[in-house]
Amino acid sequence: MGKPKIRIATTSLAGCFGCHMSFLDIDERLLDLVEIAELDRSPLTDIKHCTDCDIAIVEGGVCNSENVHVLRELRRACKKLVSIGACAINGGIPALRNRYDLGDCLEEAFITGIGVTDPQVPGDPELPLLLDKVHPIHEVVKVDYFIPGCPPSGDTIWAVLTDLIEGREPVLPYELTHYD
C-alpha cells in the first residue's frame, strides 16, 4: 500500500476560470499530480461539496452570497487554503464595479444597456444576492498562501503546489512573480 493521497479541492468564485485553465497548463505534470493527489470538490470533478481535504485552491473574488457560503465551506474543510490570482487576492477585474453604485450596475446591465431586450433586473429567489462590493477572499476567511498573477502561469502554480505537497514554505522565484 502506498501513502494515502493528498486531497485537493479547487473552486472558482467571481473569476473567469483563467486560473483553472492555467492549472491545466501544468500539462504532463498532471500525471505526476494524480499519482500523489486526489481531486475533491472541483470544476474538474464536478463534485459539489467538499469533504475534508489538505489543500483548497480558490480562484476569484467574493461578489455574492453563494461565494460566501462556498468559501466558508471550503475553509472549514481544508487544512491549507490557497488564494490564487488577482481576483481572489485583490478583487481583480470584477472589482472594477466597486467604484459604481450596485443599483446603477444592475440598471446598466439589464435595463438601459445597449442591446438589452425585455429590460428587467433578474429577481428569481434562486439567484444569489449580489454583495455591494467585490471583496478579495482574505477579507472573508483566513488565507494561508497566495499565488499572484492574472492568471499565474502553470509553472508558478506547480512551484507552489509542489512546495506545499512536500511540506516546504512556498517561495516564488523572481521570474515567476507577477501581478498581471
Partner: protein
Amino acid sequence: MPHFTLDGRTIPFEPGQTLMEAAMAAGVYIPHLCYHPDFEPHGSCKLCSVEVNGRICSACTFPAAENQEVISASEEVRHLRLRLTQMLFVEGNHLCPSCEASGSCELQATGYYLGMTDGHFSHFFPRREIDASHPEVLLDRDRCIFCALCVRASRDEGKNVFALSGRGIHTRLVVNSPSGKLGDTDLEATDRAAHICPVGAILVRGTAFRAPIGERKYDHRTIAQVALEEERPLVGRQHGQAED
C-alpha cells in the same frame, strides 16, 4: 573621507549627502518610491526606512554622518517595507492586469522585490476621479501613490501643473487650472512631469503596450538592478550643480 556603516559595510560620504545618496553612490540599493536623484527629496513614502543607531529614519532625507550604524537589509526592515507597500496597494485601486504601466511600474516592482504576494489589509476601493480631458496625457488617480514626483518635476519646469491637496487619507492629486482639468493646463506630452510617474497614474497617450510581456522593464531585472543602473549615475548631479 568620512564614512558610516551600512549592514556592516563601510560607506564613504561627502558632507551634505543623505544616506540614500551615499548608499546609491556606493552601489547599494535602498528601496524607494518618492525619491529620485534629480529632485529634492520628499520623504513621504517611507519605503527607504532604515535603522540608524537603533532608530527608524528615511534614508532619502537623513544626512549621513560619522559613527552611524545603518541597517537596511534585516528581516525586520524588509517586513516594515512590505507592510508599507501593501498599504500603498490597498489605499488605491491597483488592478495591475488592466494597467498600462504593468511590467514597468515601480510600485509593482517594489512588491516583487519585497516578496509581496498579497495586500494583507482590507482594500479601501476608494472612488477617485479619472481625468481624460487632455488630448495627449491621461491622469488616472486610482493609481496615484502621492510621491509628488510630478509635482516636483512640473515645479522645476516652471509650470506648476500638479499639486497634492488635503491630508492623510483625504490627500488627492490636483491640477492647476481654473477648471481643475488637465486639458486646461499648459502640460505637454514632452514635459518631464508627464514621464516621471513611477506608477500608471500619468500616462502619455498612444504609447501603451509597446513592450510585449516578457520584454518589459521589470520582467527579468529587479528594481534594485534597474535603479543602480539608471539612477546611480545621476546621484549628486543636482547637489554638485547647486554647490558650484
